[in-house]
């Protein structure tokens, strides 16, 4: 899977998990997506289920942007 395809997949998961209707770029922050750890849990669960990549919520909580999350998911898939 190319980096762009991976980004589009993760961005799509984030839109559903956060109920976000705007455009998501690599620089979109989690603050912009909205508050709520349940939404973050939904996002990490979807990533794990669909891409078989486990990124913990603790890790995501330390991230600022979707771009960082996509990089971490890519590492997990490659690893």
């Amino acid at each position: 899977m190319s980096n762009q395809e991976l980004f589009e997949q993760v961005a799509g998961f984030a839109k559903v998990a956060y109920g976000y209707e705007g455009e998501i770029t690599a620089d979109t922050t989690f603050d912009e997506l909205g508050k709520g750890s349940m939404k973050m849990i939904a996002l990490t669960s979807t990533i794990e289920n669909e891409l078989d990549a486990e990124v913990t919520i603790h890790e995501v909580m330390k991230m600022q942007t979707i771009g960082e999350l996509v990089e971490r998911v890519a590492e997990e898939i490659e690893g």
């Binding site: 750890s37 349940m38 849990i41 939904a42 669960s45 794990e48 289920n49 486990e54 919520i57 603790h58």
Partner: protein, 336 residues
């Protein structure tokens, strides 16, 4: 009889089953042995069975009457996975479930989600954040609740409030900067938790620096919005505000400052801090100046009872926390 003595009696009368995923910790294992010996709860140690038995033997702790859920038992894990995956709200696929069943805390939560245990108790070797996140993921939040929070009960020498020396308070430990909806959730959860433990009719005051519009500003607006949300979600509960602390608990002040009927003003038995800054400072003030003890803080807001303890907790503190959790779980199941 003290509140804790009453709770102990109630816990023993309706025994709940409690999962302990940190049985490898010596203090936790000793607490589990004591809970079992005193007939307070049916205890399940979750972990590597062989390792747990060996540790118990080294420590001279009897595991008689204590169940062990062995995370290395592949046959048992496969059976659990099949049942868990069949739950309509299981958030994972088979691989994710298998991954989690070999981790003690998540294994414990899966047992709880399946109804095999009533309570998960952890926190002595992992952070409150870890317990909360695993609990939110596998157990989920209660209906109408959008944040995990905490509640405690002060025992304040010399205080003569509507429940004698006792006063419920929340949240002073978990939700740092709640929005109005989360603040409403904290109040609703606190009413449920405190009522389960004390059998009081909860009267819950949302605190502010303003009483009924005596001051204005966005901080006041948040508390007013929280009251409206709480009343809309749970019209059966007595949740009111915005009140200053004295207006909430002192009938004379309430009579002067609250210009409308209220079932809460002046006789609140639960107070809700507007955020964690206030909550932390408030608790420290009461402890330092009034020499109060506190039961808790207890986690709340989950679909089922999830409890953590401080990493420095001793055996008696763990036993007390488990007793409170058991009573809450029994009330939730309609058995107490």
């Amino acid at each position: 009889m003290s509140l804790m003595d009453q709770l102990r009696e109630r816990a023993c009368a309706a025994r709940m089953k409690v999962a302990f995923p940190e049985g490898d910790d010596e203090t936790m294992m000793r607490a589990v042995a004591e809970l079992t010996e005193q007939g307070i709860a049916d205890c399940v140690l979750v972990g590597n069975g062989e390792e747990l038995r060996s540790l118990a033997s080294e420590r001279g702790i009897s595991l008689d009457g204590i169940e062990i859920a062995d995370i290395t038992d592949e046959v048992a894990n496969a059976a659990l996975a099949e049942r868990y995956l069949a739950l309509p709200d299981c958030p994972f696929k088979a691989k994710g479930v298998a991954r989690r069943l070999v981790r003690p805390m998540e294994h414990a939560f899966i047992l709880q989600a399946l109804g095999d245990v009533d309570i998960t108790f952890a926190g002595i070797s992992c952070s409150t954040g870890d317990v909360i996140l695993a609990g939110q993921t596998i157990i989920g939040l209660a209906d109408g609740i959008d944040t995990v929070s905490s509640v405690g009960i002060f025992d304040i020498p010399g205080y003569e409030g509507s429940e004698g020396n006792l006063l419920g308070f929340g949240d002073s430990a978990v939700c740092a900067n709640p929005d109005a909806s989360q603040l409403a959730s904290i109040a609703i959860s606190a009413c449920e938790t405190v009522a389960a433990l004390t059998q009081w009719d909860p009267r819950c005051a949302l605190l502010s620096y303003s009483t009924c519009g005596s001051a204005t500003g966005e901080l006041v607006d948040k508390v007013i919005a929280a009251r409206d949300i709480a009343n809309e979600r749970r019209p059966d509960l007595k949740i009111d505000g915005e009140f200053q602390f004295d207006s909430a608990i002192n009938p004379r002040t309430a009579a002067r400052k609250v210009p409308r009927d209220s079932e809460v003003a002046g006789r609140a038995n639960i107070v809700i801090w507007p955020d964690l800054n206030v909550g932390n400072v408030g608790v420290k003030l009461v402890q330092q100046f009034a020499h109060a003890d506190a039961y808790g803080p207890m986690l709340q807001g989950f679909k089922k009872i999830v409890c953590d303890c401080s990493r420095s907790a001793g055996v008696s503190e763990i036993v007390g926390n488990v007793i409170m959790s058991c009573v809450r779980a029994a009330v939730l199941k309609g058995e107490a």
